[in-house]
């Protein structure tokens, strides 16, 4: 009897609890659906635009013609090589600097942080104005010095190094954030000391100890830099170069369908590359968990 009474009393309470638990799920689903619509509808619309012509039906001609399109391969390869160079340069600059600050001068961390974050508050248009001014001024002033050739070399159309330099500056905030988070998750001083104690030289410590434990952070930094470089338009366009983003805009005037097809394709390529980097980072993170989880104390058998 008592059990029955308890059960009778509990039933509405349980039902109310179930309803309460159900509500967040509905809201969660609604928010996710809304976000999916926001991202997917324009994509789907773009895709439909590229394959469907009213009155003529479905055709993938815009995609098949891409490879043969003038400038497609060159601009894509240029963007990818610029991205690779930017990632390499940004990491080469940031990793030693941040490790050195963490190990040797922790008090300088706020200074480095401000310096690395500065590009976020400087609009690319301001940056490119400065860069183009210098590029115009340089040859005039330095024509009789060896630096003249340097000015020409950095503007080589086949591989404009000046873009790599500018993109490195733009990528610095993202690279810094990602690496800083990674360095915070690892007990860098102790790991370095442990490795040094085992006889490792400084380069060995960096290559064999620090970098493997920062793989997730490095992948994150590379991930963001890649996305930034592949989508960057302002600087490249104003400096007169034609990487992928600029090429898309160039052909959009004459071949609207193809330009949208390229945009869809570039999104897919970018996502594929990001997924690749993300998987590399996740694998690294699984092998090298954060400091907190590495200290999880399991029961002694």
């Amino acid at each position: 009897m008592a059990a029955m009474t308890t059960s009778t009393i509990d039933r509405p309470a349980r039902a109310a609890a179930t309803r309460r638990r159900g509500r967040p799920r509905i809201w969660r689903g609604a928010v996710l659906a809304l976000a999916a619509c926001y991202f997917l509808i324009p994509l789907a619309a773009s895709f439909v635009f590229t394959v469907h012509t009213p009155g003529q039906g479905v055709s993938f001609e815009a995609y098949t013609a891409l490879l043969a399109a003038d400038g497609f391969t060159d601009s894509l390869l240029l963007s990818l090589s610029l991205a690779a160079a930017t990632i390499a340069l940004a990491l080469l600059l940031a990793v030693p600097a941040l490790v050195a600050v963490r190990l040797g001068a922790p008090r300088l961390r706020p200074v480095v942080e401000v310096m690395c974050m500065l590009p976020l508050v400087v609009p690319p248009i301001a940056l490119v104005t400065g860069v183009s001014t210098v590029l115009r001024w340089g040859p005039d002033q330095l024509s009789r010095t060896p630096l003249y050739q340097t000015f020409l070399a950095v503007q080589n159309e086949e591989f404009p190094l000046v873009l790599v330099l500018a993109y490195t500056v733009l990528a610095l905030p993202f690279v810094y954030r990602s690496l800083d988070t990674g360095l915070r998750a690892v007990d860098v001083p102790t790991l370095v000391e442990a490795a040094r104690n085992c006889g490792a030289s400084w380069p060995y410590v960096v290559v064999r100890v620090l970098l493997p434990n920062l793989r997730a952070a490095l992948a994150g930094a590379a991930f963001l830099t890649l996305a930034l470089v592949l989508g960057e338009f302002t600087i490249a366009s104003l400096l007169g170069f034609e990487p992928f983003a600029v090429w898309i805009v160039t052909i959009s005037g004459s071949q609207a369908r193809m330009s949208v097809a390229v945009s869809v394709l570039s999104l897919l390529i970018t996502w594929a590359l990001l997924l690749l980097l993300s998987r590399a980072g996740t694998a690294a993170a699984t092998a090298a968990p954060s400091r907190d989880s590495s200290r999880t104390s399991r029961k002694e058998p």
Partner: protein, 390 residues
């Protein structure tokens, strides 16, 4: 307190002669801004010996170890390893294996690769280094853990792997920087016996930093007590406990009563209504002294007309710690067998008796070595002992 295994003790002399190195600190000084961490530290560690550096936080014990490891450079003084000055030698060429407080295993490497790391640095062929790593993992009791990553092991297991890694290169000196402080009590106890067993069987010279006096007293051949960057006393655990050389050591090691006494000539001191022989040097310049007496050398018996009153009594298992107020002396702490402490409730009148054995005396720090301060010192030491027992 635990004792190392008899087997390991027997193995010690031969092994010690084989690989232990003599370590010497000479006039080490190291300051961090205005804070002086080491203030002219002189200390030597004999080959095959386990020396514990013990002291309160900020006394310089970790700094001394880091200087020996090569992670800190002294402002003055030198470090010698078997007579060779290694003060300027970089950390990676010091031939010293170190176990850190925070495990410090490389998270991306398996236990086997962690142990083999140093050998890999030295380009030992893979087959040899893997065999040696397996041997060391076996030695630390983890023969089946070679493929596990640090996050798949408990704290105690990680520290065993760290110990194996430190021993992998057969270092001339083993450095242990509070290696047990992050572990729970049970694991700490078993691992400290393990460390001592290994150190004895391998005969390696070891320097062990700890703030846990029970750990230091139970493991070390000798204990160096540091205070404010200086060496207070370096002695075998029993001597340190029984014959503290300074008031600081007396307060820091275990619980110590510091009772006001008066030298009465002939090598005796009057304290708490008794006359006791003085052990060791008798101060000649002063008559007012502090008499150092361990709680276990104080007897307390309930008597209606006793001169002291029980202030508090804490049951500690085999003994009950009694704090009694004695007029003109202050608080006296006594450890009474619990079966005899039934009547020693707070407020009970008791008679105090000091064991008739030689006692250590130190000059009164100042006229202020009042009963209140003596009681405070006793309370501090008691708290330290309680902390160590946790």
């Amino acid at each position: 307190m635990s004792t190392p295994t008899a087997e390991a003790e027997r193995a010690r002399p031969a092994a010690a002669a084989a690989s232990g190195a003599r370590v010497e600190f000479r006039g080490l000084r190291r300051a961090f801004g205005a804070t002086v961490a080491l203030d002219g530290l002189d200390l030597s560690v004999e080959p095959g010996e386990l020396m514990a550096l013990l002291g309160p936080s900020g006394c310089g014990k970790t700094t001394a170890l880091r200087v020996l490891a090569g992670f800190e450079h002294p402002d003055a003084g030198e470090v010698l390893l078997d007579g060779e000055d290694i003060t300027g030698v970089p950390a990676n060429r010091r031939d010293a294996g170190m176990v850190f407080q925070s495990y410090s295993l490389f998270p991306n490497l398996s236990a086997r690769d962690n142990v083999a790391f140093g050998m890999r640095v030295r380009r030992v062929p893979a087959a040899r280094r893997n065999a040696r790593a397996a041997e060391l993992l076996d030695l630390v009791g983890l023969p089946d853990h070679g493929d596990r990553f640090p996050h798949q092991m408990s704290g105690g297991q990680q520290q065993r792997v760290a110990l194996a890694r430190a021993l992998a290169l057969e270092p001339r000196v083993l450095l242990l920087d509070e290696p047990l402080s992050a572990l729970d009590a049970k694991v700490r106890l078993s691992l400290r016996e393990e460390i001592r067993r290994l150190q004895l069987s391998l005969g390696v010279t070891a320097v062990f930093v700890t703030h846990d006096q029970e750990e230091a007293l139970s493991m070390a051949d000798r204990v160096a007590v540091l205070n404010a960057g200086r060496l207070e006393q370096c002695a075998a655990p029993a001597e340190l406990y029984e014959r503290p050389a300074t008031a600081f050591t007396a307060s820091f090691i275990g619980t110590m009563n510091r009772l006001p006494g008066l030298l009465t000539g002939g090598g005796t001191v009057a304290v708490a209504g008794q006359k006791l022989p003085v052990d060791g040097d008798v101060p000649t310049a002063v008559r007012d002294v502090e008499v150092l007496i361990r709680p276990e050398n104080v007897a307390v018996a309930a008597e209606p007309d006793g001169e002291a009153v029980v202030a508090s009594a804490s049951f500690l298992g085999a003994v009950t710690r009694v704090h009694a107020e004695l007029a003109g002396v202050g608080t006296i702490t006594a450890d009474v067998p619990s079966r005899d402490a039934v009547d020693l409730a707070p407020g009970a009148r008791v008679r105090i008796g000091l064991a008739e054995r030689p006692v250590r005396v130190v000059p009164s720090a100042s006229p202020a070595a009042t009963p209140t301060e003596a009681a405070a010192a006793t309370a501090t030491a008691g708290a330290a002992a309680a902390g160590a027992a946790e």
